[in-house]
Symmetry: C2
Subunit: 150 residues, 2 copies
């Protein structure tokens, strides 16, 4: 992963590393439904689905008018910010992760609002296809034209 | 993907490329249950799960005493072989794919034996975690020690 990533992507890297120590695997920039793109979607050992939105600055947070739309696509929702972020801005009924580009720490566990079975099934499949497609694109750059963008 | 792959892995590459043209994403070397490792597991747009075993030679096929154990982990089961392989050796109630390292073609569709819901759910989750973990390992080589082998 190159180090010319945007600040939010650097936080995402630290978040993904940390989540793995909790046995959660992650993908970045998954689209649960047209018009929404989540920074990090993580899948736990029991099929738990978490979303983490990474905010690199106050402006990055205040300009996000879509975040409540993420809640219905996960069992738990977290913010990830760096240690200079004014955390009092964040709604305190969400989870809170303090991150840098190397690691992260869960400061406040998000409340659980379990997905219904049918939606969990759809999200699991989206997660699986997202991860496998990007893995294939990295392993085999000579895929048929257009497939990489699917 | 380096070209110093084993013959079976080269076939798997062609198979994965071809399956993508049918909108099936693939992973390689997934372990559905301890002691079994499938060459290619593919996930279709409707959640279909296919297994493809890649055999590079007669000896490679005849030494495989485990293949019937794969049937219970997929909706359809295929063999993939190159165009020099004696296909009359293969059971004709399985699917047949002719492949090389660049592409492949489904010659005979496998019969469908649909997974039960609970097993499909487990396999979808295994597929998702397998793909995401390997994607993370490729994108971020500085993962916590030991995690790459999970």
């Amino acid at each position: 992963m190159p180090d010319d990533l945007a600040p939010g992507q650097l936080l995402a890297r630290g978040v993904c590393r940390h989540l793995l120590t909790h046995d959660f695997v992650s993908v970045v920039e998954l689209v649960p439904t047209p018009g929404l793109r989540v920074d990090v979607m993580a899948l736990g050992p029991k099929g738990e689905i978490w979303i983490v939105e990474c905010k690199s600055s106050r402006a990055d947070f205040t300009s996000d008018r879509k975040w409540q739309g993420y809640l219905e696509w996960c069992d738990r929702f977290f913010w990830a910010v760096d240690d200079a972020f004014p955390v009092e801005l964040l709604p305190d009924d969400s989870g809170l992760i303090i991150a840098d580009s190397y690691d992260a720490e869960i400061l406040r566990m998000a409340p659980e609002a379990k997905l219904a079975g049918a939606r969990r099934k759809v999200m699991m499949q989206k997660f699986a296809r997202h991860a496998a497609l990007r893995l294939q694109a990295l392993r085999d750059p000579r895929l048929p034209p257009g497939i990489q963008d699917a």
